[in-house]
Symmetry: D2
Subunit: 438 residues, 4 copies
Amino acid sequence: MASGLKIVTIGGGSSYTPELVEGFIKRYDELPIRELWLVDVEAGREKLEIVGALAKRMVKKAGVPMEIHLTLNRREALKDADFVTTQMRIGQLAARAKDERIPLSHGVLGQETNGAGGLFKGLRTIPVILEICKDIEECCPNAWLINFTNPAGMVTEAVLRYSNIKKVMGLCNVPIGMEMGIAKLLEVEHSRIRIDFAGLNHMVYGLDIYLDGVSVKDRVTDLLTDPNNSSFVKNIQGEEWAPEFLRTVGALACPYHHYYYKTPVMVAKELKEFESNETRAEVVQRLEAELFELYKDETLDIKPPQLEKRGGAYYSDAACRLINSIYNDKRDIQPVNTMNRGAIIGLPAESAVEVSCVITKDGPIPLAMGELPVPVRGLVQTIKSFERVACEAAVEGSREKAILALTINPLVASDQLAKTLVDEMIEAHKEYLPLFFK
Amino acid sequence: MASGLKIVTIGGGSSYTPELVEGFIKRYDELPIRELWLVDVEAGREKLEIVGALAKRMVKKAGVPMEIHLTLNRREALKDADFVTTQMRIGQLAARAKDERIPLSHGVLGQETNGAGGLFKGLRTIPVILEICKDIEECCPNAWLINFTNPAGMVTEAVLRYSNIKKVMGLCNVPIGMEMGIAKLLEVEHSRIRIDFAGLNHMVYGLDIYLDGVSVKDRVTDLLTDPNNSSFVKNIQGEEWAPEFLRTVGALACPYHHYYYKTPVMVAKELKEFESNETRAEVVQRLEAELFELYKDETLDIKPPQLEKRGGAYYSDAACRLINSIYNDKRDIQPVNTMNRGAIIGLPAESAVEVSCVITKDGPIPLAMGELPVPVRGLVQTIKSFERVACEAAVEGSREKAILALTINPLVASDQLAKTLVDEMIEAHKEYLPLFFK
Amino acid sequence: MASGLKIVTIGGGSSYTPELVEGFIKRYDELPIRELWLVDVEAGREKLEIVGALAKRMVKKAGVPMEIHLTLNRREALKDADFVTTQMRIGQLAARAKDERIPLSHGVLGQETNGAGGLFKGLRTIPVILEICKDIEECCPNAWLINFTNPAGMVTEAVLRYSNIKKVMGLCNVPIGMEMGIAKLLEVEHSRIRIDFAGLNHMVYGLDIYLDGVSVKDRVTDLLTDPNNSSFVKNIQGEEWAPEFLRTVGALACPYHHYYYKTPVMVAKELKEFESNETRAEVVQRLEAELFELYKDETLDIKPPQLEKRGGAYYSDAACRLINSIYNDKRDIQPVNTMNRGAIIGLPAESAVEVSCVITKDGPIPLAMGELPVPVRGLVQTIKSFERVACEAAVEGSREKAILALTINPLVASDQLAKTLVDEMIEAHKEYLPLFFK
Amino acid sequence: MASGLKIVTIGGGSSYTPELVEGFIKRYDELPIRELWLVDVEAGREKLEIVGALAKRMVKKAGVPMEIHLTLNRREALKDADFVTTQMRIGQLAARAKDERIPLSHGVLGQETNGAGGLFKGLRTIPVILEICKDIEECCPNAWLINFTNPAGMVTEAVLRYSNIKKVMGLCNVPIGMEMGIAKLLEVEHSRIRIDFAGLNHMVYGLDIYLDGVSVKDRVTDLLTDPNNSSFVKNIQGEEWAPEFLRTVGALACPYHHYYYKTPVMVAKELKEFESNETRAEVVQRLEAELFELYKDETLDIKPPQLEKRGGAYYSDAACRLINSIYNDKRDIQPVNTMNRGAIIGLPAESAVEVSCVITKDGPIPLAMGELPVPVRGLVQTIKSFERVACEAAVEGSREKAILALTINPLVASDQLAKTLVDEMIEAHKEYLPLFFK
């Protein structure tokens, strides 16, 4: 890392890239990035060029000596990289729309990281990530792979089990969002809040909550169950939890838990979006089109404020602060997806978990979180089982294991429906599932 | 046990009792029962008298010197007992009907041992079982408590965690039924089949299957997935599994797994029964009325063949062979509900599990079954979490924990619905839930 | 196994072989052995011929149709075998004498299975066993490997970790001897005693003791600590334990525990033997010479009673009853060395342990023994660490790891002494340690 | 903690107290201590007065508004304390001398925290600590108890298992000393070194070593095994390790490991001290006498440099930085003795371990260290077993368990010798072992 860092962003043509670039610019003093390589595939060439040009204008405007490189040649980009971030979407938003609409057409949740949608995003993504791992092994064996690509838990599990890469972390903005929400609830600065996170990606719990280092878990529970806060809480968390649940479950649930503990409400909500062609992918496709129109504007040289509507809030913050802590051996506490190593008792020591870690130059060291509260232990195991079976299906190209994965997933819970969904979705995503058509 | 055994059957007025009596008569040479005490409560007095009179006629006809005692005084009966069996139903079949119909009226499974029905049967039963444990401590501290009362897993968990009784086992006829089914499939005698059982009550898996001691797991999978066997398999298992599931799940599922891996089919089926007033409790109420009419016939002195339709096949066999193996230190292998002690890696060492055990005079020693297959690990944990939260709700009389239990149960999976169900069912079962109305 | 069994005994020229032959003859009705192949190496040819001739006379006298084959060609013998037993001694008794005398010359225990002697026996034996495993894989992949060769725990560990053989058990006569001792103490038949065994080979504990299936652990402790029984106990166990230790340790120790809990006494005893050239190997060499003289007698056609003095009492019984239970799917309880699978909580699930098992046609299933008592947990872990490091040293031919193994062994407990011992012993056993001289 | 902190030091008359006072003075800006209460017992009154007067002069000289209070009334001192530190020595140095000399008179190690000496220091100290815990519960339930009293691991274990105090940590200067040693070896500032610590008190290992966040474990091993560094290494570590051991053991041992991996050398060394009346306690008694002479000097108003010879280097630093990190929620990494919670796989989750932790206002959170290297796993378990049996002996006043504790301790390893030692030492320490004379 002699004369500044080399960072490679795979899926660099993403509409999020300006977030990342802004984050790097802001932290340039601490994190002297010499080269940022944006890599994409042929199908993303146009977006890459648009977003790359904007990135160059942003850097220029900021006056930092960061080179922006655009390429479709992944291996060229990876050469001697220090950090590789992955934020690609195999099959673009069109594939995501299928992940959402096909399950919903059968009356079950269609969602990017959970249930049938999550499975298929995983099946498309895992073989590509494992190819990237092979390239990293050869081109930049000392680099850290920081994966933002969903489903981040499943992807990290696959890298840990099926690649030779050890320096990998999965990153998600859900935990940071939970901290922000609590900060709002308590009307304090985010920096004064710390949460002990433990669980899986999009299945993470806050085991304790601290304000200035002192537990405020009971106070938070009181605020969350106070009927006067109802609309505010709904605003923060999307949905409200039954107070009886909040008072007994023993941990702060994350927004994705709504799918599992409020299944009928969530299905109803998404079916409505389905019927009005307003599923998330469909909305995002329109948002993205607008964003790229903005990005094309050659006078634009900052991250446009409209990007925040796109979702993925705090993403840039989470990513940049992680890279910064590694680079500078900050030893601060951040939640990442990493190998469990016993940090969460009862989950496999060698599996990927999402857990509060100390971030050192040598990587994350998970904090020992003990056992999960009894009420949540089972669901986390179920989803870990689902992820592991899904990984096997992905690397083997096994239709049968894909069916198994959905049968044991509580959002499907039906062998027959699993079969129907898998057959229909394999066909729909044929182009991106070569292992299933060997 | 000097001059013969004293056995106490709590819930002795059950229609099953003739099964048990027949089983004891058949095994009298090995298992010399001196006294069989049938205990019931005031509400069951008439049934107790009918079934007791039949039992006396059966014993007389068989010519074995077994005394039959009938009483409503539990402590009198327990005095110096060697074995206590429990098969009571708090609230009788009328309560079971509510356990079935209330959930179904909200579109979710209503069933005696699973989901909302199972929770409420547990909430009614656990405090009574813990009272019985106190009586056993005082009246017959050396007795074995053999629980047949459903939900047997939850009840055994409660005894292990909340009583001072160590000599307890839960017994179920599901595993023996699975062995019988496999024997039929392979067209061999039951005695030649052995299954390695591991899991929880009504959530047990066959990890391996042996014919004459040699694994035939693959052969069984082939037979179960052979389309030519379809109707036969359906006959054995009630429902057919998708072959893709059977080939990959890595264990033989039990019939109750249909509720979790074929949820929509099972809900649809039960809703039909609900609409035609043919839920299981309603059917059984009619069957029982007929049975008790038969039992009243003073010329009847054997178990009437109609009893077999009642369900609970192999019950007597399972119970008598268990008591026999303890009494005679047989050291044979039988599946029971007992403390895990590490037999199933990943489940709490001190929790109740259903597992193949060697049955010795000193009780069951579980066989080390290792880890459950990855695909089934999560569901088992989820149901164990559900059982543990349900036990806490029962002993504390906690409405909030009852709501939590249903929220985390995959058959409900909704905090709002959990609330609705719990409030409605607490009210419906008010008479039998005194702790909830302190 | 159509027309009778084929059994192969590697190290067939051992003086123990007549024990085994007698055992097989006695059980012929249940265990129809068609062929018994005795295999040895060139250095053991003479003994093989003597003992083989005796075996043939024994079979003839007994009138059983068992063929005895003698060979130096191991692969020929292994072809299609059903059971392979190993009882070889690499380097014969001369090597054992060095294992005993070299450590004693430095003031620490010299013993065949513990400390420096045990390490070196392991280093010589493990590579040979792994060669045998390769032959079994090719010549008789369905055979059971039953290892009697010491150090049996270390050897089983090596087979489990470094070979492809899954059907392996280690067998030892220590547990059966402990049962016999307890039977004598209680003045009852051996068959009425059962002990729950858990630990490692030559490091096994009796966690509970049953007479007719009922725990008599407290009674046994009382008898063992009764001063009136002193000489009797010493007779059974070789040494007496301090009553304070017996009453608090929570488990029945095995004779080899004397080395760890009575180290100074045992060292003193062996040093005396060392000085008078009466170490065990030296005594056994003389005993063997006498035995082989007897064996040569062509009129001898039974196992000579003098063999019992040789040690290894109950060996034949242990071995034959194990093979018998596998062959006949007896499902009785026997202690063997096998993969832990969670049977002993806290020891690695994939490591070899010595534990009570149900013996089925499909092999041993360990009984779940829970956690070892707190006081003994550490030593068992230490010896398991020692065994694992020793296995690594053996397969890698690593002098450094051999030194490490002795440094962490409590009988040496010195890095400097470990170095001295290893260097001297590698040289002394040079011929049998080819991997150390690559 | 509104207007500054209240700290109570039990055993305040210790010669170390000036270290602590100096540390507090240096950190006054960050750590505003309002009151420091030095508590001692009647037997220590004179020392308390001498050291207290010096403390007052030091504070005055430094010009910080810290009140020094001296008292023999523990409960008065504890009232509303924020931190309680314990550094008492039950029976003073005279008792320590017996802990050293009695075992050595029987040829085994006599040492303050290991073997027989460690056991007896524990037996005297544990009941007193548990009394202090009761006082804390009543007088200052929110205080942190920071125990420096040896044997710190055993004492922390006892507090965790036998008191109601949850806010407890044990602190030792061994880990900080190891870091200092490595810093010297690498010729860098201490602050640039970080070690992953895992194990038990005085039985801690460095699993990895980092310079500026990058692992330098291999480089350190090379330096430690380089013959050119020999005398330097000996200087740092007291004794040199065999290079073969260093290269294979997989972790950095601590100085106390010499007792277990270099037993004969250490015994010989101590026997020499024993014979010349130069055991540590005897040396320290003289040092202390000299120190207190110095302390009496009314012109002395700083920590006298001679104190450093007393041992306990870095003590003050370790203690003050720990209190500082709690008070200021620093979230830095420090090794302390705390509840394992799964941080070290294989050790009981509820036992005390010495492990790198993040220190927050809410206490230490251990870092997940995974499994200990195979070679060291056993010894750590053995010493944990020893500590747990010793704690039971202490709280029950059980001579038998004290004998058991020594029998299983590898430094004694003899039931007979254990008996002799225990009987002699109980008698020698009679005055301080009231529970043994009930």
